[in-house]
């Protein structure tokens, strides 16, 4: 579980996060949604420790991030997996080397143990036949799956995904969403996903935090997002004609 309390972050005097508080639940896919520029990526980078908040507190399973020592930060980082928007795979390494990389750098397992563990995860994301290929030799969807495999190979307690299905076709996007949700349940991870894709919201949005202009505008789940009258949320969702029709059907039901 991750709890954030009154997180403020500003850049050059411009406030990007304005006192956000919420809780991301363990074993659930927690979505952070909002328009571009709403502060989603900054919030994710604050949670990852890449940006320090100007004020507020983050708790990882009730341990305050700001009161942790450098050693504790290092330990915490090893419990975090991250799937970047562009996958961020190492170009010069094959699929299996990318997945092995965090283990080789951070653990003292034997090479055979590491290869076993990496191949098990690669198998889990259905890429075993592509394990010796370079990232440039596989499709965008496969690259995302490699990124997910690399993020979970160390069995993290927390998984962060920054727009994991951006640039993917709808079918592949659903595969990626479902894979993240399945792994979240399987490994009992606290997963936080940045997205502005309504398909993801409907598919895996077990808890949803809606941001607008750096503020928490709404909080709920995919079960009640269509019922809300919150203007910011309805503006966001029903900018698409498809979802206007979906809402009509949903309310009629």
């Amino acid at each position: 579980m991750i709890r954030i309390e009154k997180i403020h972050k500003q850049f050059d005097g411009t406030a990007v996060l304005k006192g956000i508080s919420t809780e991301f639940k363990k074993g659930k896919t927690n979505l952070v949604i909002g328009q571009s520029g709403s502060g989603k990526t900054v919030l994710l980078k604050v949670l990852l420790g890449l940006f320090r908040p100007n004020s507020g507190e983050i708790y990882f399973d009730n341990s305050s991030f700001s009161s942790m020592s450098e050693d504790e930060h290092r330990v915490l980082r090893r419990e975090i997996g991250m799937v970047f928007q562009g996958s961020a795979l190492f170009d010069s390494m094959s699929v299996v080397e990318n997945v092995l990389f965090p283990m080789r750098m951070l653990t003292k397992f034997s090479e055979a143990e590491m290869i076993d563990q990496a191949e098990a995860v690669i198998e889990r994301v259905n890429l075993i036949d592509a394990r010796h290929k370079l990232p440039t030799e596989i499709s965008g969807g496969m690259q995302k799956r490699v990124a997910i495999a690399r993020a979970v190979v160390m069995r993290p307690k927390y998984l962060f995904c920054d727009e994991p299905n951006s640039g993917l076709d709808p079918k592949t996007a659903i595969v990626i969403d479902n894979l993240i949700q399945e792994l979240t349940k399987e490994y009992d991870i606290t997963t936080v996903i940045n997205s502005h894709d309504m398909n993801s919201v409907m598919e895996i949005g077990e808890t949803i935090l809606f941001l607008k202009d750096g503020n928490k505008a709404w909080e709920g789940s995919n079960k009640n997002i269509f019922k809300t009258d919150n203007e910011a949320v309805t503006d966001f969702i029903y900018s698409s004609n498809l979802f206007k029709k979906v809402r009509k059907l949903y309310l009629n039901d």
């Binding site: 090893r78 970047f84 961020a88």
Partner: protein, 219 residues
């Protein structure tokens, strides 16, 4: 870390040997030809061609101008590879994993570049050899006179001076391009810009350091 260092040695040191050998051989040849062609006076000894070639190659061409040529090759490689990792979030990925990205990316390059003096030894040897070949096959001087010129007034202090500055240039070559790659912002176009800026800065710093180190060694 051992694997990373070996990879950088492969890319930056062994990968530069070909161009360094090629350039050194032909520049050495041109230096000796120009020296021979510009000696009009019969009072000038024949061994001056070998002497001038040796001094030009050991003191300046191999350490300084090879470093500037390698700024274009190795420096651009360093800036663009680290810069691309920055724009594709690979450096962020390292940080998130709890890996010290500067240590991971820059340290192996720094270690690999300490082997630059080996490349410069090849450059010196082939530069002088190129000078000898051009002199003999161009008919400008005899082989014995050229070899006598190479040995004339040899001072090992000059070689020490050349290797000390080669080592300094190697550190400049590893650090300035790394800095420009690591702290770059933007996209693909900015990677190209960062490489250009790093080339310019590296060249300027090498030339200025060369001036001061020469002052220091030959007060």
């Amino acid at each position: 870390m051992y694997g990373l260092v070996m990879k950088e040695i492969q890319d930056m040191i062994l990968g530069s040997l070909g161009i360094v050998c090629f350039l050194s051989f032909f520049v050495g040849g041109v230096v000796s030809m120009q020296t021979a062609l510009n000696i009009d006076s019969s009072f000038m000894p024949e061994n001056l061609v070998g002497f001038a070639t040796r001094q030009s190659i050991i003191l300046e061409f191999s350490p300084t101008f090879m470093a500037i040529i390698l700024t274009g090759k190795v420096g651009s490689y360093i800036t663009s590879s680290i810069g691309t990792m920055r724009v594709t979030e690979q450096i962020d990925a390292l940080e998130v994993m709890g890996i010290n990205s500067v240590n991971f990316l820059v340290f192996p390059k720094l270690i690999a570049m300490t082997l630059l003096p080996i490349v410069i030894i090849f450059s010196m040897f082939l530069g002088i050899f190129g000078g000898w070949a051009a002199t003999i096959y161009g008919g400008y001087s005899s082989s014995s006179a050229f070899v006598e010129g190479i040995q004339l007034g040899f001072n090992s202090y000059h070689v020490v001076y050349a290797f000390v500055k080669t080592f300094l240039f190697a550190m400049i070559l590893a650090t300035i391009p790394s800095y420009h790659g690591y702290y770059m912002k933007g996209g693909a176009l900015d990677v190209g810009r960062a490489s250009t800026v790093s080339f310019v800065w590296c060249s300027v710093v090498i030339i200025v350091v060369n001036y001061f180190i020469t002052q220091l060694f030959f007060p």
